[in-house]
């Protein structure tokens, strides 16, 4: 399954709840304000880094750039994609769950 998270992990519990419910082999795509979850060096970074053992992480580049987050600040191993990549993920995984 592909999970999308569009909330900042510093404001809401959506990412944390998502990671608690994403099984091994699933993917998490960070979109909109969710891209703050892809940043290195925040108080929530380790939560994502720990989850990367079992889950693939992706983040939307147009959302990163709009917010001034340079790619060098993205946690190593998170793949940066555009909307075409989002479509590919949505097609690859059999279903999508949005953590609103």
């Amino acid at each position: 399954m592909l999970h999308t998270v569009n909330k900042s992990p510093l404001e809401r519990n959506a990412l944390e709840s998502c990671l608690k419910h994403a099984v091994k082999g699933s993917a998490v795509l960070l979109i909109e304000d969710g891209v703050y979850g892809a940043m290195k060096g925040t108080v929530k970074s380790s939560m994502v880094e720990d989850a990367m053992k079992d889950i693939s992480f992706y983040v939307i580049r147009p959302d990163l750039k709009a917010r001034g987050i340079d790619e060098s600040r993205v946690i190593d191993g998170i793949e940066i994609i555009d909307y075409h990549g989002f479509v590919d993920l949505a097609a690859k995984y059999d279903k999508t769950q949005s953590w609103l």
Partner: protein, 130 residues
């Protein structure tokens, strides 16, 4: 592949309407089919033709209408959600005793069954909301 989209927030206030649009455009560019775009909750506010955004900003409503025309998209506003929030076509306006309607070109108003049907008939249903 056959996609359907659920848009749960209105234009400008939340990014959901932008992400849904960008996803839809990318899916069409990749040759996928968009079976339906269903607007629910405040999402129905994407379908009013009365918006006048600033000139230097995107026009979210027109963008949907133009995409619908170019690709024969089925843009459906949930009738119950639209009634609560004041989005009406000519039929709805008449039925509810209103003296005006505000639906934008390319949108139609229908029931929640259209969302369920989209979930059944499409390969994927993706939700964008708050």
């Amino acid at each position: 592949m056959k996609f359907s989209i659920l848009v749960s927030e209105g234009p400008y206030t939340h990014e959901a309407a932008d992400t849904a649009y960008n996803f839809t455009k990318a899916a069409l560019e990749k040759g996928h089919e968009i079976y339906r775009i269903f607007f629910y909750h405040d999402g129905v506010n994407n379908g009013t033709r009365l918006t006048t955004p600033p000139q230097d900003d995107r026009n979210i409503v027109n963008r949907w209408s133009e995409l619908a025309q170019a690709h024969e998209l089925d843009l459906v506003l949930c009738v119950a959600a639209a009634q609560r929030r004041g989005i009406a076509d000519a039929d709805e306006a008449k039925r509810n005793g209103k003296d005006a309607d505000n639906i934008a070109p390319g949108f139609r108003i229908s029931g929640l069954g259209q969302l369920i049907e989209a979930g059944i008939e499409s390969d994927r249903l993706i939700t964008f909301g708050d």
